[in-house]
């Protein structure tokens, strides 16, 4: 029996649910060169910003048990450099190509999306909404109003699928997922990193220059799993899980909770073969359990009423 690993996200068909989380995998010369990314269901680029930005001064990453904190600060060479340097490598990939776009307001997101649409070669956009909003002291993804406006503007700017990447640092991700769905998102990514910090007990100072950073990695997976479960119950659009996946069984866990696809992020730093191994592992899982279509697992752990067809 050859299992069908394909999944649908809106109009897109992915050959399997495995893709990198934005900011954890590069294309072209940034690809570590250990396996062909055509094996993956999709590739998601690191977030681009319209204006070039350097990002934060080191120390940018702090290890913590089973995870890491990051305060990298969204470095970007800017839109023009992205179109010239990244897009050609991205366009050439033989899998679904997702450009992650960041911005301080709706105009910046729209500027980037329009320019990329004109250039062509990208299949979908993931909106990095955990960007600070100009003027307001809040991340776009942590204000339902701002999120709705940005997602709606992006929806109008392109006919291609738009995924809204949500922040987990809110009381109920489901509310924000509903806002994104209402604004026209084709899918939601649950979720970005959790707000966290660390203190050096010798210097008695916070370890990160920005004091707080985002925690990611296997330590947070149970938290994200619950947020996926919560969100899948609240929306009709697909949920892309992101947070702490390490192996194939983690993708199965997320699918069972209601996800349609799964991003692997921090684990790539530990094991850059993780995604390739996950795809193989999913095939083995299906063969072992007699699962003919992996997509049938989406929501299968939920009570029957919660399993909407996606």
């Amino acid at each position: 029996m050859k299992p069908d690993l394909s999944v649908r996200i809106g109009p897109l068909v992915l050959k399997n649910p495995v893709m990198p989380a934005s900011g954890t995998w590069g294309v072209g010369r940034e690809d570590p060169g250990l396996f062909d990314v055509a094996q993956l269901g999709a590739v998601v680029t690191k977030s681009l910003m319209v204006e070039p930005r350097e990002g934060n001064a080191p120390l940018r990453i702090v290890e913590t048990p089973g995870g890491m904190l990051n305060s990298v600060g969204l470095p970007s060479h800017g839109l023009d450099a992205w179109l010239e340097e990244v897009l050609p490598d991205l366009r050439a990939l033989d899998t679904v190509r997702v450009a992650s776009v960041g911005g301080h307001d709706a105009d910046e997101f729209v500027t980037a999306i329009r320019a990329i649409d004109d250039a062509g070669g990208v299949d979908a956009y993931e909106l990095n909404l955990s960007c600070p909003n100009i003027g307001a002291r809040v991340l776009i993804a942590e204000s339902a109003d701002l999120l709705t406006r940005v997602v709606a503007a992006c929806r109008r700017a392109t006919a291609r699928p738009v995924f809204a990447k949500l922040s987990p640092n809110v009381l109920h991700v489901a509310e924000f997922a509903r806002a994104a769905e209402y604004a026209g998102a084709d899918a939601v990514t649950v979720a970005n990193t959790l707000r966290s910090m660390a203190i050096d007990t010798e210097t008695r100072r916070p370890l990160l220059g920005t004091i707080q950073g985002g925690i990611s990695g296997p330590a947070i997976r149970p938290v994200i799993l619950w947020k996926v479960w919560e969100t899948a119950a609240a929306v009709g659009i697909p949920v892309i899980a992101s947070g702490g996946a390490c192996e194939a069984r983690d993708a199965v866990e997320f699918l069972l909770a209601g996800a349609s696809a799964v991003q692997y992020g921090t684990i790539n730093f530990t094991n850059p073969l993780a995604m390739s191994q996950a795809v193989c592992g999913l095939r083995t899982y299906c063969e072992r359990h007699g699962v003919e279509r992996l997509a049938d697992l989406t929501g299968a752990a939920r009570p029957a009423a919660g399993r909407a067809a996606r």
Binding site: G26, P32, I61, P272
Partner: protein
């Protein structure tokens, strides 16, 4: 279209040949990895992991101290500074270690001439590999080494037979100049170096920048930074650099380029380095 762009790079388990415990708390891990050694050059580094599961989460970066194509072994010189190195220190012959390598850009080594190595403590490690390659090519090699203890200078056994001149500056010796670059400065009055190499100590790196500017020789540094992934994805390892000339000059026969117009940017040491033209590196925080 294949996205594979790094022929020779591997992520695999290899067998430990031996873990040597040396004086001064230094350890030398010898690994059998013929494919890896054949694909690697001085200046490359590896990410090592030798424990199951996700805690510690991240692998640890180590420069190749030695690359022996005859025996197919490579060596990593280090000391225990935390949990990761503590776990690596427990490895013995026959154990397995997971290695991702070769990573980074290697040192340019010319075909002829005379080179100077400048290093302190474990900064000497990648310079040992440079010395062995240079000697094999028939270059003259002089080394300027410093360490806390004169009796425990990393790389001494490997460098002594290779170097024409070997200057040691140790903290536990009374008197004499405090920076080993003072010996180099004195030698520069009589000797011309085609290239100088350094790694580790920022004080030595800064002083070598001064000598480079005065005497106009090419110089390269291998920068040691915190790393999470080692291959360019996480962007943890950035260092401030002056923008170099067109595609940072790699030919060791170039005279050192002067620093650009003061335009500073963060550069990933794992991807564009860890080897950089010395004049581009900004040492002040």
């Amino acid at each position: 279209m294949s996205s594979v762009t790094r022929p020779g790079r591997l992520l695999r388990e290899f067998e430990v040949v031996e873990q040597q415990r040396r004086g001064g708390g230094y350890l030398n891990l010898i690994v059998r990895a013929p494919d890896l050694v054949a694909a690697s050059s001085p200046g490359h580094f590896a990410m090592l992991r030798a424990w199951p599961g996700w805690d510690p989460l991240l692998p640890r970066p180590f420069s190749f101290a030695r690359l022996d194509r005859d025996s197919g072994t490579c060596e990593f010189l280090y000391r225990v500074v935390g949990r990761g190195t503590g776990l690596l220190a427990r490895l013995e012959g026959g154990d397995r270690v997971t290695v991702l390598a070769p990573l980074g850009e290697p040192f340019p080594v010319p075909d002829r001439g005379r080179i100077a190595l400048v290093g302190r403590g474990l900064g000497i490690a990648p310079l040992i590999a440079v010395a062995e390659l240079a000697a094999a090519r028939g270059l003259a090699v002089d080394a300027y080494l410093s360490a806390r203890e004169g009796a425990n200078v990393p790389g001494m056994e490997a460098l002594q037979p290779i170097c024409e001149r070997l200057f040691i500056q140790s903290d536990d010796r009374a008197g004499g100049p405090r920076l080993v670059t003072a010996h180099l400065e004195a030698q520069l009055a009589a000797t011309r170096y085609d290239v100088a190499y350094t790694c580790g100590s920022h004080r030595l790196g800064r002083d070598l920048q001064r000598l480079q500017a005065e005497h106009r020789f090419a110089a390269y540094v291998s920068l040691e930074t915190h790393m999470a992934c080692g291959f360019g994805a996480c962007k943890a390892c950035v260092w401030p650099m002056r923008r170099g000339g067109p595609a940072a000059p790699r030919a060791a026969s170039h005279a050192a380029t002067t620093a650009g117009g003061g335009d500073v940017h963060w550069v990933r040491t794992c991807l564009e380095g860890p080897v950089f033209p010395l004049e581009r590196v900004i040492y002040e925080s």
